[in-house]
């Protein structure tokens, strides 16, 4: 914490970010570099990555480190705060590879960051394993050095749309709202054909500005066109405003689902009772069935993480921890830290982790099924997975004054 205080104070006074590492790096440590949103508009989610990276690295080091050619070596982290500024993050990744000479790269949060930063890893031919960018755009450029551990954005609503067909009474019309950034546009582009194939009418298909705070007009339109299902791809602040304003305008579709927010504890806390009935999705649940070399299993990971950082990890944190594990495994498989060799080992990786199976496709992205989740009362429940319903959904959502 004092590191972080020092860091923020420095950024304040000098207006210049400087780096801090988790523990002092020794000469033979393998240094992993990252630039993450520790301050600025995305700081809320950015912290999952910093905490997850440190948590996983500390765990691996506590077990002795990674074996490279018969010798145990420890990992170290060099992390910069990109202040939620894409341009700054590109400069910081350039600095990490060109001046700090880090061995390998971990990713930032969010697709637009990963999209820009992966150009650096590609140029310098240093593999980056990132768990924060899901947009299909990142992986459609035939880059060789970018690997992603989030499921493809285009399929975020895949399981939700499947579930819609099995609901009783089945909804007929859908409103699709999405923010105008790389991730959310990919979500919308992927969701549209799914809705059409499912025979659902798209009553509304509307893009809005990132960081919009007023949804009253869009909500009034939803009420007016009678869309029964509302799917929103956006950012947590927008979703918060959306739900609060839906209540104050008494707009209650039969179901609404959001790409972000629902799995995060502080999001549910901020909404309180109004979070009830909200659907979302996650590619990760802290299940004891997900075995892990370092943490034992995902449930233990979640418990220890909460004990250390005092908040529940969500899929961002699991994905971030999995990135460190993927790199560690690839180093062991390659028997070296040479970036090209690690890159080839990553491409062949087949790792069972706390996050699920990590095996990258040709384009560098993994595929994980999304489990539909819903807030029911104060609890977060898994509703619909690869094999159909897990738990009964609370559906349809009642009018706000009937709750």
């Amino acid at each position: 914490m004092s590191n972080r205080m020092l860091h923020l104070a420095g950024a304040l006074l000098a207006g210049v970010a400087f780096a801090f590492s988790s523990g002092a790096a020794r000469a033979d440590d393998i240094v992993l570099g990252a630039s993450v949103q520790l301050t600025g508009a995305s700081a809320n989610t950015g912290r999952y990555y910093k905490d997850a990276y440190e948590f996983a690295i500390d765990k691996i080091n506590a077990a002795g480190g990674v074996s490279v050619g018969g010798e145990k070596r420890k990992l170290a982290l060099k992390i910069y705060d990109n202040q939620s500024d894409v341009n700054l993050s590109v400069r910081q990744y350039t600095q990490l590879v060109s001046q700090d000479k880090v061995a390998l790269l971990l990713g930032p949060f969010a697709s637009n960051f990963a999209l820009a930063d992966s150009a650096v890893s590609e140029k310098y031919q240093i593999p980056m394993v990132q768990g924060g960018g899901a947009s299909d755009q990142i992986f459609s450029r035939k880059f060789k050095y970018i690997f992603g551990t989030l499921a493809p954005a285009s399929n975020y609503f895949g399981s939700t749309v499947k579930m819609l067909k099995e609901l009783d009474p089945a909804p007929k019309s859908v409103a699709l709202l999405y923010a105008d950034d790389a991730f959310d546009v990919s979500v919308a582009n992927g969701t549209r054909p799914l809705l059409k194939d499912a025979g659902l009418t798209i009553a509304m298909d509307e893009k809005y500005s990132s960081n919009a705070s007023d949804f009253n007009s869009l909500l009034s339109q939803i009420k007016s066109n009678g869309a029964e299902v509302v799917l929103v791809a956006g950012h947590e602040t927008e979703i918060l405003n959306f739900v609060r304003q839906a209540k104050s305008l008494a707009v209650a579709p039969k179901l609404y689902s959001f790409t972000v927010g629902v799995p995060s504890e502080d999001f549910r806390k901020a909404l309180g009772a109004d979070a009830d009935y909200a659907f979302g999705m996650t590619a990760w649940l802290p299940s004891a069935k997900l075995k892990d070399k370092w943490f034992g299993d995902a449930a233990t990971f979640a418990k220890d993480y909460k004990a250390k950082y005092n908040y529940d990890p969500d899929y961002h944190a699991a994905s971030g921890a999995a990135d460190v594990e993927a790199l560690a495994q690839a180093i062991e498989d390659a028997g070296a830290t040479d970036p090209t060799k690690v890159r080839d080992a990553l491409a062949k990786l087949n790792l069972d982790s706390l996050y699920g199976k990590i095996a990258f496709a040709e384009n560098g992205q993994i595929d994980l099924p999304q489990t539909v989740i819903q807030v029911q009362g104060t609890e977060l429940k898994a509703i619909y997975g690869a094999n159909g319903f897990i738990e009964k959904p609370k559906y349809p959502m009642p009018a706000w004054d009937k709750r």
Partner: protein, 287 residues
């Protein structure tokens, strides 16, 4: 037709919220000639203050507004006396720099103190609404709108009728003449800035009740307030109210007719148009 009516209502209520956020900025700008780039950050602080009052002391955000405003007034008074007064006679650029610096400092202090977690002020009635036939009036926004009207009237009466208000206006119009009549500008500037920040604090409490709070909401709010102040003009609190309503309605209609990504294009487009056609604001005196 119902939809249009609803959208217009949304726009008017949104405009009321905008107006109350911009009132303080316009006052400080008009009297001190300081474009306070930290205005949004003060709104954010006011929101956190109201949040704490509500969450820990159970004080209703609307009843807590005077408390928030008084604490923020004191903060504003101190900031003006201790910091801004150093550059008040300097070139405009210096005041822009110092208030920009202040906004960065306040934002990062807020993250250190409150973390980047999202907060909402969520009293039980926050989501209630009143149905008028096919049109729905969100209760919290309606109350915020009422507060905006009351504060605008109060500001107007204060500036026009009270001795202090007259002294503030006199200082804004002619500093030398005001001093000759015994006005002490240092105290007066600090009081004016304090009132501006107090208004920002009250606006923050309302904002937190209808929207969400995090340390980074400030910058976007400053930009919006800036646009409203220019559209409405700096001479008169009613100008700000008109500017806020105008902007709220324009944005709501833009979402309906052009598309949601164009809300900001529309509002800042209006800003440019007003600057060209009526540079002193919609209600400003024409040159």
């Amino acid at each position: 037709m119902d939809l249009l009516a609803q959208i217009l209502i949304n726009g008017i209520l949104l405009g009321g919220l905008y107006a109350i956020m911009a009132l303080g900025l316009a006052l400080v700008w008009g009297v001190l000639n300081i474009v306070n780039l930290a205005h949004g950050a003060f709104i954010m602080l006011g929101a956190y203050l109201s949040w704490h009052l509500y969450t820990y002391l159970g004080i209703d955000p609307f009843l807590g507004l005077p408390i928030t405003a008084i604490i923020m007034f004191a903060l504003g008074y101190a900031v003006q006396r201790g910091l801004l007064n150093l550059v008040v006679r300097g070139p405009m650029f210096n005041t822009l720099l110092i208030t920009f610096g202040l906004e960065v400092v306040l934002t990062y202090l807020a993250q250190l103190t409150f973390s980047a977690d999202f907060r909402t002020i969520n009293p039980p009635y926050a989501g209630n609404s009143i149905a008028l036939g096919p049109v729905v009036l969100p209760q919290a926004r309606l109350m915020a709108f009422g507060v905006a009207i009351v504060l605008t009237l109060a500001m107007w009466a204060f500036l026009l009728r009270s001795k202090l208000g007259r002294a503030i206006r006199a200082t804004a119009q002619n500093l030398v003449a005001a001093r000759l009549y015994g006005v002490e500008p240092r105290h007066l500037y600090a009081v004016t800035f304090g009132i501006g920040i107090g208004l920002a604090g009250a606006a923050g409490g309302l904002y937190g009740t209808v929207s969400q709070i995090n340390p980074y909401i400030g910058a976007a709010l400053t930009a919006k307030c800036f646009a409203i102040a220019i559209i409405g003009g700096l001479d008169n609190p009613f100008g700000v109210l008109v500017g806020g309503l105008f902007l709220g309605i324009i944005e709501s209609l833009a979402v309906l007719y052009i598309g949601a990504t164009f809300a900001d294009v529309a509002s800042f487009g209006v800003l440019v148009a007003v600057l060209i056609v009526r540079p002193s604001g919609l209600l400003g005196k024409t040159a």
